[in-house]
């Protein structure tokens, strides 16, 4: 397991995302209201580029006709067959226990600490005065 610096904090705004490649693996990094999450860019259904899909809310209804828009922006909709996945966990809406997209641990760390290493920063240059999004993989 190694820590990979994938972005400076300001680079991914809330509701935004960044696609990165770490050790040959494509990963989508998302900012949900200031918290960061990372998912593999491969849909567990048939392999579409999941992290390029639309970011949507949880549409729920405890009863027919009682509509609720819950947790805005927390779901990712696959561009191919529109299955929905929770950005925070990778769990699918339809079968959360059985169908999941691989997720990775994400932390935010100050450049100062990163400078002490070890970390990998293939594409991001690290300055001690900034904070960075770090994916462990």
């Amino acid at each position: 397991m190694a820590r990979h610096v994938v972005a400076a904090v300001g680079e991914i705004p809330p509701g935004g995302r960044k696609l990165v490649t770490i050790r040959g693996r494509e990963i989508g990094v998302f900012n949900l209201d200031g918290a960061y999450y990372a998912l593999i860019n491969r849909c567990p259904h048939q392999g579409a580029a999941l992290c390029t899909g639309a970011i949507v809310s949880r549409l729920e209804a405890p009863m027919p006709g009682e509509y609720r828009l819950a947790q805005p922006g927390s779901m990712l909709r696959c561009p191919w067959h529109c299955w929905e996945f929770d950005i925070r966990t990778g769990q699918s809406w339809c079968e959360p226990e059985d169908v999941k997209a691989r997720s990775y641990a994400v932390t935010v760390e100050p450049g100062e600490r990163l400078a002490r290493g070890p970390f990998m920063a293939e594409t991001v240059s690290v300055a001690v005065e900034e904070d960075y999004v770090v994916v462990t993989l």
Binding site: V56, L59, E60, A61, P62, M63, P64, G65, E66, Y67, R68, H81, C82, W83, E84, S92, W93, C94, E95
Partner: protein, 366 residues
Amino acid sequence: MTQEAPPSGAFSGLAGAVDCDIHPVPPDMRALLPHLDPYWREHVERRGLERENLDTSAYPPGAPINARPDWRLPAGPPGSSLAALQAHLLDPLAPRAAICNLIHGAQMMISEDLSAGLCRGLNNWLAAEWLDRDDRLRASITVPVHSPELAAEEIERLAPDRRFVQVLLLAMTELPLGRRMMWPIYRAAEKHGLPVGIHAGSSFRHPPSAGGWGSYYLEDYVSYAQGFAGALNSLLAEGVFQKFPALRVVLIESGVTWLPASLWRINKTWRGVRAEVPWLDRLPADLVRQHVRLTLQPFDAPPDARSLEVLLDQLGSDELLLFSTDYPHWHFDAAEGPLPAGLPPALLRKITVENPLATYPRLAAA
């Protein structure tokens, strides 16, 4: 009630079964007159309706499939004689109970009030002429299917009579069955612990095939399976099982084998479009296994044990099927018996006894 003969022939080993679908019919409209409210009796007589039989074109009595040759009667339409039903079925089969489902023009007339008046008469006739005379008989409540409010009133009227164990609808009527306008029926049925039986057939407000009017009875009859798929999809998509969580639905004479493919399709499609029906919050097939049952005859699987095994595996539950003969319809011959070949013995008991008792609480209590 007649003497029960010991079970014999093709029915041997089935004593105590619950036959979940048999079809009495009135011999003619005149037989209903004494059971109509006075107003509707006079209405019928003034219009000369007592000279009509109000058969439905879904089940023309002359079509071979709609009466086994040895169950036809010397006079009157097949299914119109209690004595014949006893001799043909009840005595040789010796069922614990048999559920009468009336398919009759009364339930699908365009005039809602006349439809409701005739349905009341039919239910009264069935109670007086059949249920009162053979205590093995139970019945579905016949309702005016195009008038959910009046249908719910009829359910309320008859619910205290515990011999009525179900509410009867048709697969294809004016609206897809899940639509909210139909909900008064489901509300009343759920309240009284009555499953809703959805019988094959149509009130022909639209073609039985989604593609238009066919030329032949063959097309109509085969297309009834599509009608069931449509009715079931509507119940699922409209959220009927969320709104009425205790509701049970029994698909009667559906043919059964279309169901797995239909469930695969709705499960698969649901994953991508479920957001438009957000109340449908679990695999549709799981809801079906929880809420929906199917009567056995007619059974469309090829007549070999291997095909049966595959189908049972695809259905994914041993609780779905309910024994039925579909008397007097012609789905099996005297020598053949009413069960598909190769049914495992444990399943036989589930289908003939346990599943019906679990589905119809009023039978279990009786």
